[in-house]
Symmetry: C2
Subunit: 503 residues, 2 copies
């Protein structure tokens, strides 16, 4: 990603749909050089799934677009590792001070495991690393400080060692519900309290600090009790620490809009006197054959299962780049329905685009630089991506261009070297830099190194069996032996021949 103003002449205004105003707005950053973006990351107590992927990929596109527009971006994505994990009978909090801590259940081991796998999976799917990935457990002081400030403003109260945000009092002087568009009555009727209801004055109040029950493992000292922060506090505290009291963009999944982001706004407004972010963006959900995905519904597929194909609902494995491309075939604000058919179609489409891109690089080696052309394709694609990240339109423009590329390849059409250079530049910038499709991974997606070896082996196995039928054992042995030399073993079975690469 070049930040050396090389993209200057293609730069366009960026328009983003702001959930706060429910309108598409021109993006105008607080600073002309630096953009601050905060995105709600994963809760690291489970396997990564398509929902994680869509959110990470959506804001990765925005990150790439802002950088393409030569902004320096500080992109903060948190890791929620302060769970409510409690000891069960077998791993009970130890009663003997002498027993080594090492024998106890340690939530951080679980959090570390899923944090590592989340990071690895997002990288595999072509997401650039955020500038900072702060841990909730690493910012307890900041969350206590936030709670103290809200208490000082008289907009929170203590109850039995826990601190709750006083929604009714806040609502007297501020609009609670401005992001979600709900009014207090809706909110009350919609509020469920399974935990500590009796401690609250009002059902819509939410915890800033929770006193830990004896069996609760993750706990820290505070002025009010040994406990842990409420689940909305971390984002307000960490976004302020790394981006300031007011920053440009706050993003996350649609499911976080209420109550999480509504509560963040209330917390920041109560503590600092103003809303934290100017643009609130929310990506929509992914459904599975029309149904919501969920563990309870038995149709939750982990990313690992997608990569391995190891799930009853999957016909086969899909590569990380195919999943990325599939997600980009829908605009982030619309729902996206998963099915094997849809993923296979995405894989085919991705292969077409990458093949055309490669053909363009072969068509004409003489790169014409600094030419003054308009580059219509690039401009059309950029307009689409700058229009609230309308990636499917950009992809459609690329597909149109594939037709031209192929007819040039087939010699049915002729283009100037400059036109070819424009097409090449458009494919490289849009598909590579902006959509983040890494060619290497991408080709692997639609074959690539593994598929190439697979195809070559298929061919060799077929030629070997033909040789055997023809009693040409010289050839069949030659094939077996030459392959053995490079670590490939052939295994003849009744129903055919398998091969294995020694690993």
């Amino acid at each position: 990603m070049s930040n050396n103003n090389s993209n200057e002449r293609f730069r366009k205004d960026i328009f983003l749909h702001n959930s706060l105003t429910r309108k598409k707005e021109l993006f105008e950053p607080i600073s002309q050089e630096v953009v601050g973006m905060y995105v709600c990351g994963p809760t690291v107590y489970g396997e990564g799934h398509l929902g994680h992927a869509r959110s990470a990929i959506t804001f990765d596109i925005l990150f790439r677009l802002l950088r393409f527009n030569d902004y320096k971006v500080r992109y903060v994505r948190n890791i929620t590792d302060v769970g409510h994990l409690e000891n069960d009978a077998d791993n009970g909090e130890d009663k003997l001070a002498k027993q080594a801590r090492v024998e106890k259940l340690e939530p951080m081991e679980v959090a570390q495991h899923y944090t590592n796998s989340y990071r690895a999976q997002m990288a595999k799917m072509g997401c650039l690393s955020p500038s900072i990935e702060p841990l909730a457990s690493g910012h307890i002081i900041e969350q206590i400080e936030l709670t103290r400030q809200i208490l000082d403003k008289g907009l929170a109260y203590e109850s039995n060692g826990s601190i709750y945000f006083d929604v009714q009092k806040y609502a007297q002087s501020h609009r609670y519900g401005e992001l979600s568009g709900r009014n207090l009555d809706d909110i009350i009727s919609g509020t469920r309290d399974l935990d500590g209801q009796s401690e609250k004055r009002f059902s819509a109040d939410f915890a800033l600090w929770k006193k830990a029950s004896p069996e609760h493992i993750m706990r820290w000292p505070s002025p009010w009790s040994d406990g842990f922060p409420g689940w909305h506090a971390e984002c307000s505290a960490m976004s302020r620490k790394y981006l300031g009291e007011t920053f440009d963009i706050h993003g996350g999944g649609m499911d976080l809009l209420f109550p999480h982001h509504e509560c963040e706004i209330a917390q920041s407004t109560a503590a600092y006197g103003h809303s934290p972010a100017r643009y609130w963006l929310h990506n929509n959900m992914i459904t599975l054959e029309g149904k919501k995905m969920g563990k309870s519904l038995g149709n939750a597929i982990s990313l690992t299962q997608f990569f391995t194909g190891d799930h009853k609902l999957l016909d086969r494995a899909y590569s990380a780049m195919v999943i990325r491309f599939f997600i980009l075939t829908a605009q982030y604000r619309s729902t996206l329905d998963f099915s094997n058919e849809a993923l296979i179609a995405a894989e085919k489409g991705l292969f077409r685009l990458l093949s055309a891109q490669e053909a363009l690089h072969k068509l004409d080696k003489s790169q014409i630089t600094g030419h003054k052309s308009q580059n219509e394709l690039l401009n059309k694609c950029l307009e689409a991506i700058c229009d609230d990240m309308n990636t499917p339109i950009a992809i459609a423009h690329l597909f149109d261009a594939v037709k031209t590329v192929n007819s040039v390849v087939d010699g049915k059409e002729k283009l100037s070297a400059e036109a070819i250079s424009d097409l090449r530049m458009a494919f490289d910038l849009v598909l590579g830099e902006l959509l983040g499709i890494s060619t290497q991974e991408g080709v692997a997606a639609s074959g690539g190194a593994d598929e190439a070896l697979g195809g070559a082996m298929e061919l060799l196995i077929e030629m070997r069996s033909e040789a055997k039928k023809a009693r040409d054992f010289a050839t069949s042995d030659k094939i077996r032996n030459s392959l053995a030399e490079v670590g490939i073993t052939l295994k003849d079975r009744p129903d055919g021949t398998d091969w294995e690469l020694k690993k």
Copy 2:
């Protein structure tokens, strides 16, 4: 790594050199099931280098060995991200409250960058992820708590908002210097104070908490001042949090033995009444052609430079597995001298071992399981690794076995299927599981999956040219077209045929 007791019959007593007693001792864990190990990780303000690699690989071997012995291991390796970074003139701490924080220098961006690259590099070199990788910045509360406890014991004092450990007072009732074997006089004469000397009562005193100067960015509130912890505090606080007041193994580089580990012992003893760890292990340094490595000496080579070959002292690039193997060719307590010759020799040696391993898997497909043989090679290698991780001896035993393997391959020698199966098991367990040489990476270093495709293509190209000679164009076209389908292009040249995989 199998923890299902499959290794039971090969398990041996582990002996480790304990820096605390200066003796090699039988390792006896506090708990029979779980082992706690804490290793000092990197300070994430610079590129990873050979020193980082040697420490991580040394304790990765111990981690693997303990797991091989069927212990559940909680391996904690910290990330030191609390630096002393200060604003320079250009990025001065902002004076206007209104300016967005995003425009300021943010140390966490730097820390995140180097943390990510450290993790990626260690993984590339075959190091298993630790169970927990705690950040110093994420455990300020615990470090404040430690400081408070030492103050309560009267073994620390406040001076101008900073808290210092009172070494003289501690030395009245405890042995300060037991790990390093130094006495207080040596220590005093050896102590340098470039910072805050005037605040200290005694030159060997060290900071538990430092009041932050106005230009200091990383700062947290504390009972004594806005500041940051002293650099020894984090390891005492985090090892206690995740492993307990007393745990089994504390490791790190030799350069950390004094003052860092000496101070950790003093801190824990002062706060909790006893030394934190029972076994202290230290890996030795890597020299470059006899000289110490260091930025100041202009001979510091980053791991990235090793992987790319992009450094004036490097003849070429070296793969991560070759560097791992090179490090394992010396016992961790002896110095290891780097040179291009040494790395090239390591690469050749690694290739020999991996080729022999591969040959063993081809020699005999009939895996004899559950056989009652002694497996002499495996036992000899395990004895060596259990003897204070004497990896070079284990590697030497494997090299001896390579001779046998090769003479069997050449048909000069015959072995029973059981003997072959023993050899195969020894190579797989020692080279793979215990030394952590991943065949894939390793062979890639010297050929590998690419080599397999290369071999298959060579064969196909040869068969195609034969088909052409025989005017069997059906076959030659079939080869070209089937390969094209999987992204492989054949290019006929006057001097033969090249092939290219779409990338």
